[in-house]
């Protein structure tokens, strides 16, 4: 694992994309094909799988580190990462063996099959024979949590350099479900055939948030304006009377979405739709939370299917009658898409994303501002003649989300952070007033500058009125402005509401606790949004 560890360190220790690509290319030159295959798998964010229960891993770590449990756990709390804590607490190895990445992955596979009572000693032995510098990486692999700071696009770029292929082809080849046990580098990257991979989605084209005025985009007549729906971005693929549904995260979700299955008979062979999958009932989009609950279920009962039926709001057509049409202009793709959807005799699951007619940028502004009334996050701007590109790009597609909701809350609890916030009180709970009582309504972690974090941390330590485990109750004094993307009613929360993506916008040093918002203010937002 020496080479892979070297690659990991190199990527981890620079922010320069060039340096990262160079390190990857170097690695692909030096490593064996078996190791390269595994490295691609891991670098593309696919998990090695957890082969040991956390409790067991901890036991082994207590034993080998010879630390009292409480001290190990205190350390873990400050480090915030179990793999790292273990790597830091273990004694130096006795003799070092050099295993390759493939050997390590083979070890993990056989390790996972061991009975629990043999796992402890096996892992202790392994820890003691691998170099100390590789233990962190090893622990990440064994817990299935390996992650490193490269995007898929960078990995693909480096592979494209090494194997002299286009990035698009490689993106296509590396999409979807493949596993090093079932393929090899030759098949995955080098071989000249693609045809049997009929289930493969196309790489998604993603938009950046528009910054600055839309006028900079030129003539409004060259643009489509669409609503930006808040669901799951997906591709529906129909080939040979089979259907595949992929999410943007490249999860194959076909089984979770039975309502689309009839399409495999009604759509022509070689159809790929791009759109937003949403829960939709009685002519209304349901809150995103409904979708989340449904996705979380292992078994889909009739009741769930009836309470959260899904549709896809289609906005693009990538393949038409077996032909890849991504490089035709959007206007043409949309025309074909409309024909296709309108031509369905029975259609309960596909809708078209209708362009919002706008003849000036001011009308676009208006459309954006009223997005929430349509349960949307904002608008999408797409150049009418744009081709369907790969990955996140600037230029021909933009998203323009509405400004978030904001509210002023009082800091009531602080909790020590994990990981990147080791040793500081950085996890905050905020409350609003309900008559004379403060009701907690949101937790937020991010949004302050490093300096502010230190200052708040210091303040919390000096103004603690109660300690409960890792949580400190503080004198309600500090006021922060919070932003969030959505709000919905939630009987599970004391405040009666749940927020989507709450974060700290700024510290309101100009306000005292009495001036924070009230629960009433929150409920008003709920009403204005129309959710029940």
């Amino acid at each position: 694992m020496q080479l892979f560890n070297k690659l990991f360190q190199a990527i981890d220790q620079t922010t320069s994309t060039n340096a990262k690509v160079n390190a990857l290319v170097d690695y692909f030159h030096e490593a064996s094909t078996g190791d390269i295959l595994w490295s691609i798998y891991l670098l593309m964010g696919k998990s090695s799988g957890r082969v040991i229960k956390t409790a067991l891993l901890r036991q082994a770590a207590y034993k080998l580190s010879a630390l009292p449990t409480w001290l190990f756990e205190e350390s873990y709390h400050i480090v915030g990462d179990l793999a790292e804590t273990i790597a830091l607490c273990l004694p130096p190895p006795q003799h070092t063996k050099l295993y390759t990445l493939s050997q390590t992955m083979t070890f993990l596979a056989s390790f996972s099959a061991l009975p629990d009572d043999e796992k402890e000693q096996t892992i202790i032995n392994r820890w003691m024979e691998i170099p100390a510098s590789e233990r962190f990486l090893f622990n990440k692999l064994i817990t299935g949590n390996f992650r490193v700071g490269v995007s898929k696009q960078l990995v693909i770029k480096a592979l494209a350099i090494k194997y002299n292929k286009t990035a698009n082809e490689l993106a296509h080849r590396l999409m979807g479900n493949w596993h090093p046990h079932q393929t090899n580098l030759e098949k995955l990257i080098l071989e000249d055939i693609l045809s049997e991979k009929s289930f493969e989605p196309y790489p998604f084209f993603l938009a950046y948030q528009l910054e600055g005025a839309p006028e900079g985009l030129g003539d409004i007549n060259e643009w489509y304006v669409e609503r930006k729906f808040d669901g799951i971005r997906g591709q529906i693929i129909v080939r040979n009377e089979e259907i595949f549904i992929w999410s943007r995260g490249e999860d194959l979700l076909t089984d979770k979405f039975p309502e689309f299955h009839p399409l495999k008979h009604s759509l022509p062979h070689g159809t790929v739709l791009d759109g937003e999958i949403l829960p939709f009932k009685e002519d209304e989009i349901l809150p995103f939370a409904v979708m989340q609950t449904r996705i979380g279920r292992k078994l889909l009962s009739k009741k769930i299917l009836a309470s959260a039926p899904l549709v896809m709001i289609c906005y693009d057509l990538l393949e038409y009658k077996g032909t890849d049409i991504r490089d035709r202009p959007l206007s043409e793709r949309r025309k074909l898409l409309k024909q296709l959807v309108d031509g369905l005799v029975v259609n309960t699951s596909l809708m078209l994303s209708a362009p919002v007619p706008c003849s000036s940028w001011d009308e676009v502004r208006k459309a954006r501002e009223e997005a929430r009334a349509y349960k949307c996050e904002g608008v999408m701007l797409k150049r009418k003649n744009s081709i369907y590109e790969t990955g996140r790009r600037r230029g021909s597609w933009w998203k323009w989300k509405v400004d978030p909701f904001t509210i002023d809350g009082v800091l009531v609890y602080g909790q020590r952070g994990h990981g990147r916030r080791a040793n500081l009180y950085t996890d905050y709970t905020f409350a609003v007033w309900d008559n004379n009582e403060l009701v907690p309504f949101a937790k937020a972690y991010s949004g302050l500058t490093d300096k502010e974090i230190l200052e708040v941390d210091n303040w919390i330590k000096k103004n603690t009125i109660d300690k409960f485990g890792p949580v400190r109750t503080v004198t309600p004094t500090l006021v922060f402005e919070l932003a969030f993307e959505g709000i919905s009613a939630s009987p599970r929360h004391k405040s009666g509401i749940a927020l989507r993506f709450p974060r700290i916008l700024r510290w309101r040093r100009d306000k005292i606790a009495d001036q924070a918002n009230t629960k009433q203010d929150l409920l008003k937002m709920l009403d204005s949004k129309g959710d029940k």
Partner: protein
Amino acid sequence: MLTFDNKGIYCARADLYIDPWLPVNKAIITHAHADHAHKGNKHYLCHTDTAPLLKLRLGNDISIETLNYGEQITINGISISLHPAGHIIGSSQVRLSYKDEVWVVSGDYKLQDDGLSTAFEPLKCQHFITESTFGLPIYHFPKPAIVKQELHEWIQKNNEQAVNSLLVGYSLGKAQRIIEMASALDMPIYAHGAIVNIQQQLINAGHKLYPVQYASFDLIKTLKPPYLLVLPPSAIGSPWLKKFNPYEIAFFSGWMQLRGARRRRNVARGFVLSDHADWNQLNSAVLSTNAENIYVTHGYKSIFAKWLREEHKLNAVEVETLYEDDLLMREDTDAAL
């Protein structure tokens, strides 16, 4: 003999404080870091090598008395002497004895030899006041020689790509070590004004240190990459960093042992180089005193005190001081020195 009050560590019999954070009449200063050397005291007592640094920080007009290591004075029956703490140049442990009772206030210390400050001297006592900045078993600092080698490799890699190397560390203590390590490469070293001032003050006081040049923007404009530049922590994230493009930046601190701390600092490269004691050093320092009573200040004091009680059966308590918990913050604000 010593008590902890709202101004600092107090010796009633001699009527003096050690590292007080509020103004007092007589203050013994263990070392010239901001969290230990506060302004406003009437009289200061410190090690000879600390005096010029104290003047640089607090002004030339303060009233200072100095002692060399091992030199003893007596105040109202209490014998007081300073002993090397190995933390930074001039840093001292304060030993106070009265009849059979011996107390040692260690200030900040480390057992690793940094080649600049006088090496830590273990002292026997009954009462030992220790810091606990890195008092967790996750902290095991590499040997400085290894860090030096890694640093050289990193700089050379940057040099090959014609990229500047920006080296960031606390201006008093860490910066001098960084400069000494980097000086072996025989490249000119540029530095932030605060670091130049300290370096110059130490050279004037007779320390044999590598001279650095003030990196004014006018000078920087004329330089071709790659060059070396030493900066205080406050430089990270500052908009004028882009004047040094193209660059790679590295931060030097014991905190760099944790990936999370590195991210929080927003630097990609961290070198684990500390002027504090790591876990093993803290343990061996405490045990080598033979002291029964341990008072734990700054850092993970409750954890370290509990460990000393349970593992070593010592009478260890945590002490509230104002140096506590805010070391990260101090390091940042101190760049103004």
